[in-house]
Amino acid sequence: MITERELDVSGSADEKSAVVLAGDYLNKITGEQIERECKRRLDEGCTQLVVDFSQTDIVNSIGVSILLGVIDSAANSGAKVVFSKVKEDTIELFEMLGLTNHVTLV
C-alpha cells in the first residue's frame, strides 16, 4: 500500500515536496499506483517528488518503465524527482537502465 506525506526534503522554502512509498515489489500494478499518486501531486503543484524505496525488495522492468514515465511527467512540470533509501541492488538495476541519470539518489 502506498502512503504519502508532505515533507520538505530539500530544505528549500520554495519547494513543495511529496513522499511516495514504493511497496516491496515494484511491478505494473504498484508502479501504476505510484504513477497516479505522483501525477496527482504534480497537478497540485508539487515541485519535488520523493519516492521512498526503503521497503522495496524487487523491481521489475515494467515498474522501471513506469518510473521513467513519472520522471518524464515531473520534468514536464518542472519538478525534481528524488529516489530515497534505494538498496544497492536496486541502484545497480536503475543504473543498468539509465534511470540514475535523471534522478537524485539520497
Binding site: 511491478n27 521489475n60 518503465s65
Partner: protein, 732 residues
C-alpha cells in the same frame, strides 16, 4: 567405446536401439583386435540379451572391415546331432567368409549351394574355401565322424592360410540337448585352441566353461536406469504409455531382463493397453505369465526337463515347495528319491533346470533362485492349473492380485536399497587404514561435533589423534548369505558380514569378522532396538562360527544415552549415518570430490498472473541461499527470474497458463530454466507493438545484464530460457 552405427546384418535391433553393455562391448572389441586374442567366454543368465549382444558384435566387426573375418554361429536346439550341426557350421562359415570378403551382407540370406558359394570366393582365398566346400559336401552315407572335425576346422583352416578370423560361437549350452553334445563341445574347444584365431564362446553362465583360464565377460541383467531406457524406447516405439513410477516397477519386477521387458510391452501393444499404472502392469503381466511369451518360455523349459506328465507334476510340486518355503533348499538326494527316474534322465532334468536358472544346484542341494519373482509366478500358476486343476480365470485373478499387492513392496525395497549406505561395499574397503576412532562412537561424536559446520567437522576429523586401525577384509557379503534363516527379518543391502584379519597376520588369533547393520529409527535409537539388533547380529556370527567378532550398528540419528550404554556393554560400535558418510571419505578419497559435484535440482510450476513470479523468486532465493550464493548474486538471480516469468506471462498466450522452472545447482553455478507453452519468444517479439519511447522490452536486456549466461533455446512450442549465474567467492 560404442559400436559404430553400422548396418543391421545379424542383429535384431539397430545399434542405436541396443541399450547398455558399453563396457562389455568394449572388452569384446578390444579382444577381437588383439594380435593374439585366443578365446573368451561371454556368460549370461537367461533372457538378458546375450545373443543380441553377440550379433551386435558381429555387425560391428563386419562394418569395421579391418580385414578380420567375423563369423557368428548359434547352436540351436533344433540341431538333431553333432554331424548335422557341423555341416551347418561349415556352410555358415563359408557363407559369412565370402560375404565379408565381398563386403556383401546380402549373401548371408542367400540359398546358394556350397559349390556356388565357393565359386564366388576371391582367388586369394580359393585354396581354403574350396577345401572346406569339398569337405562339407555330404557323401552317400552322410557326414562321417572325420568330416565333423573337418567342418568345424574351417575357421582354423582359413587362419592357417593367413586369413584372420574372429569366431563367435553362441549358445554353447544348447549342446546339452544333443545326444553327442559333449563331443561337439570338446572338438570345438580343441580345434579352436590349436588355431591362431580369436574366438568367443557364448553360453549360459551355469553351463560349465571348459577352460577356467579363459577371459570371461559377464552379461548381467540391465541396471535400473538401463531398464528404464529400454522401457522408454519401447514405450515410444510401440505407443504404450508409461510414467516414471511404472517405468521403474517394470525394471524392478522383471529384474532387468530385456526379453521379459520386451514381451510385456509387446503384449500391451497388442492389447492396445498402456502401462501407466501398477494395475495395468499387473493385468498385462498376469496374461503374459499365463498365456504369453514369458509363460511360454517357462513352459518350454519344463517340457524339455520333464517331458512326461508324471514327472512334470512332481517337478511342479517340488518347485512350488522351493519357491514358497524358507529356507528353500533341499538335498538333491531327496529329489532323486522322490522322482524315481533313471539317473541319466534325472541328471539331465536337473542340469537343464539349473542352466535355465529355474533352480540353483549347489553341491548336493537344490534351491529356488532367490528373489526370482517371475519364475515363482510361473511355478505357482502352473501348479494351480495342472496340479490343483483350478480354472484359468481363478489363476489369473490370483497372479494379478498378488502382483498388485507385491508392487508397492518391490518399490519400497528399491527406494530403501537406493538410500542405503552400502555397508557391504564399505566394509570391503577396510584395508588396515587408520581412521578417527570417533567415527565409531556416536556418544563422543555427538559431544564433539553435533551442530557444527560440515567443513569444520571434516577439518577436525583429520586432526583427531585417537585412531582406530581397521582390519584387512578379505570377504564381505550380506548377513543373510551367512545365515539364510535371518533373511526374513533383515534386508540384504542393509546388513553385512565381513571377514578378515586385524593386523594382516593371517593367523587364527588375528582373524576377525565384522557384523554390521543399518537400522531404522526416526530419532536416536533406543536400547530395545539396539538389543534386538545386537542379538540378531550375534546370532549371525555364531551361526557362521566366528569366534572373534565386532558388531557395528548404524542408526540415522545415532543412539540414546541408554542405547550407548548397552553398546558399550556389548562391545559394539554405534555410528550415526553422518558418521558413516564421513567414514567413507577416509576409506575412499575419491569421494571427497563427490560432495562438491553434487547437483541439487529443484522444480517449480507457477500459474501465470497475480504476481506469482514472486513465489518463484522467493523459491530461488531459498535455493541459492542454501547453496551459499552471496546475497548480491541472489538478488540478481531473483530479478532475472522475475523478468523471465513476466516475459512468459506477457508474450506467450500460453494455453495452460503455467510457467515451468527448474533450478539446477552445481558446485560453482546455478542453472535456471524457465519454460512455457504458447507462442515462441521470437515469434511473439515480431508481433509486439513497442510503445512510444521504446521503454518496454527491457526484460531480456536485464536478464543478460544480471546473469552470466542467458540462452533462448529452440523449442517447437513456447519458450525455454536458460540462465546461468556462477558462484563467486564471497567478500569477507
Amino acid at each position: 567405446m560404442t559400436i559404430d552405427r553400422q548396418k543391421q546384418i545379424l542383429a535384431g535391433l539397430p545399434a542405436d536401439k541396443f541399450v547398455g553393455r558399453t563396457v562389455e562391448l568394449d572388452a569384446v572389441f578390444t579382444h577381437s583386435r588383439s594380435s593374439s586374442p585366443g578365446g573368451m567366454y561371454v556368460l549370461s543368465s537367461p533372457g538378458v540379451g546375450a545373443t543380441e549382444f553377440l550379433r551386435q558384435v558381429y555387425d560391428g566387426l563386419f562394418a569395421e572391415h579391418s580385414g578380420v573375418i567375423p563369423f557368428y554361429f548359434e547352436i540351436r536346439r533344433t540341431d538333431m546331432d553333432a554331424a548335422g550341426m557341423a555341416h551347418r557350421f561349415a556352410r555358415a562359415f563359408l557363407t559369412q567368409a565370402i560375404a565379408y570378403r565381398r563386403n556383401d551382407p546380402s549373401l548371408l540370406n542367400s540359398s546358394l549351394e556350397i559349390s556356388e558359394l565357393a565359386e564366388m570366393a576371391k582367388p586369394s582365398d580359393g585354396a581354403w574355401i574350396s577345401r572346406i566346400a569339398e569337405l562339407c559336401e555330404p557323401t552317400g552315407s552322410g557326414i562321417g565322424q572325420r568330416s565333423i572335425g573337418a567342418c568345424l576346422s574351417g575357421p582354423a583352416r582359413a587362419a592357417a592360410h593367413g586369413a584372420r578370423v574372429f569366431a563367435i560361437i553362441d549358445s554353447l549350452h544348447e549342446t546339452v540337448h544333443l545326444p553327442d553334445g559333449d563331443r561337439f563341445v570338446s572338438e570345438l574347444e580343441e580345434i579352436f585352441s590349436r588355431g591362431k584365431l580369436g574366438f568367443i564362446f557364448g553360453s549360459r553362465r551355469r553351463f560349465d566353461p571348459l577352460d577356467p583360464r579363459r577371459k570371461v565377460v559377464h552379461i548381467e541383467p540391465l541396471s535400473l536406469s538401463e531398464s528404464g531406457e529400454l522401457a522408454q524406447m519401447l514405450s515410444s516405439d510401440l505407443g504404450v504409455e508409461i510414467n516414471d513410477q511404472t517405468r521403474d516397477l517394470i525394471g524392478v519386477q522383471l529384474q532387468g531382463n530385456p526379453a521379459r521387458i520386451a514381451s510385456l510391452f509387446a503384449a500391451a501393444a497388442v492389447r492396445k493397453a498402456d502401462l501407466n499404472s501398477f494395475r495395468q502392469i499387473s493385468s498385462v503381466y498376469s496374461d503374459e505369465i499365463l498365456s504369453g511369451r514369458i509363460g511360454a518360455t517357462f513352459d518350454s523349459i519344463i517340457d524339455i526337463a520333464a517331458p512326461d506328465s508324471v514327472s512334470r507334476r512332481r517337478l511342479l510340486e517340488f518347485l512350488l515347495d522351493s519357491v514358497t518355503s524358507a529356507p528353500a533348499r533341499t538335498a538333491i538326494d531327496i529329489w532323486r528319491q522322490m522322482f524315481g527316474m533313471p539317473d541319466e534322465q534325472f541328471g539331465r532334468m536337473i542340469e537343464i533346470l539349473d542352466i535355465e536358472e529355474v533352480i540353483h544346484v549347489n553341491s548336493n542341494t537344490v534351491e529356488a533362485v532367490s528373489g526370482e519373482v517371475v519364475t515363482a509366478d510361473c511355478v505357482v500358476s502352473r501348479y494351480m492349473l495342472e496340479v490343483e486343476s483350478r480354472s484359468a480365470a481363478a489363476v489369473k485373478a490370483e497372479i494379478l492380485t498378488q502382483s498388485l499387492k507385491r508392487a508397492p513392496r518391490l518399490m519400497a525395497r528399491l527406494y530403501r536399497k537406493s538410500s542405503s549406505l552400502g555397508i557391504c561395499e564399505m566394509l570391503s574397503r577396510f584395508d588396515c587404514q587408520q581412521v578417527p576412532a570417533v567415527l565409531f562412537d556416536y556418544g563422543r561424536f555427538r559431544d564433539a561435533y553435533k551442530g557444527r559446520d560440515h567443513k569444520e567437522i571434516v577439518i577436525n576429523l583429520y586432526e583427531e589423534e585417537s585412531l582406530l586401525t581397521l582390519p584387512q577384509i578379505v570377504y564381505a557379503d550380506s548377513a543373510a548369505s551367512f545365515n539364510p534363516s535371518i533373511a526374513a527379518v533383515i534386508e540384504d543391502e542393509r546388513t553385512a558380514v565381513a571377514t578378515g584379519f586385524s593386523e594382516s597376520k593371517y593367523t587364527d588369533d588375528d582373524q576377525i569378522a565384522w557384523v554390521a547393520a543399518e537400522i531404522d529409527s526416526k530419532l536416536e535409537a533406543g536400547p530395545e532396538l539396539v538389543e534386538q539388533w545386537c542379538d540378531r547380529l550375534e546370532a549371525v556370527a555364531a551361526h557362521a562360527n566366528f569366534d572373534r567378532r565386532q558388531i557395528w550398528l548404524i542408526a540415522p540419528e545415532g543412539f540414546s544415552p541408554q542405547a550407548l550404554d548397552l553398546l558399550r556393554q556389548r562391545n559394539a560400535y554405534g555410528s550415526s549415518r553422518q558418521q558413516a558418510i564421513l567414514l567413507n571419505r577416509f576409506l575412499d578419497p575419491s569421494q571427497k570430490e563427490d560432495e562438491k559435484s553434487d547437483i541439487g535440482e529443484y522444480e517449480i510450476v507457477v500459474p501465470m498472473g497475480e504476481d506469482t513470479e514472486l513465489i518463484a523468486a522467493h523459491a530461488v532465493e531459498e535455493v541459492a541461499r542454501r547453496h551459499h550464493f552471496p546475497q548480491k548474486a541472489i538478488n540478481q538471480i531473483k530479478t532475472a527470474l522475475v523478468e523471465a516469468c513476466i516475459n512468459a506471462a506477457e508474450h506467450s498466450l500460453s494455453p495452460d497458463r503455467r510457467i515451468y522452472q527448474k533450478f539446477a545447482v552445481e558446485a560453482d553455478k546455478i542453472n535456471i530454466t524457465v519454460s512455457n507453452r504458447g507462442l515462441r519468444l521470437a515469434d511473439a517479439r515480431g508481433l509486439e507493438v513497442v510503445p512510444t519511447g521504446g521503454r518496454r522490452g527491457w526484460g531480456l536486456s536485464l536478464m543478460r545484464g544480471l546473469m552470466d549466461e542467458v540462452r533462448i533455446e529452440q523449442v517447437d512450442d513456447g519458450t525455454r530460457i536458460r540462465m546461468t549465474k556462477f558462484l563467486k567467492p564471497q567478500d569477507n
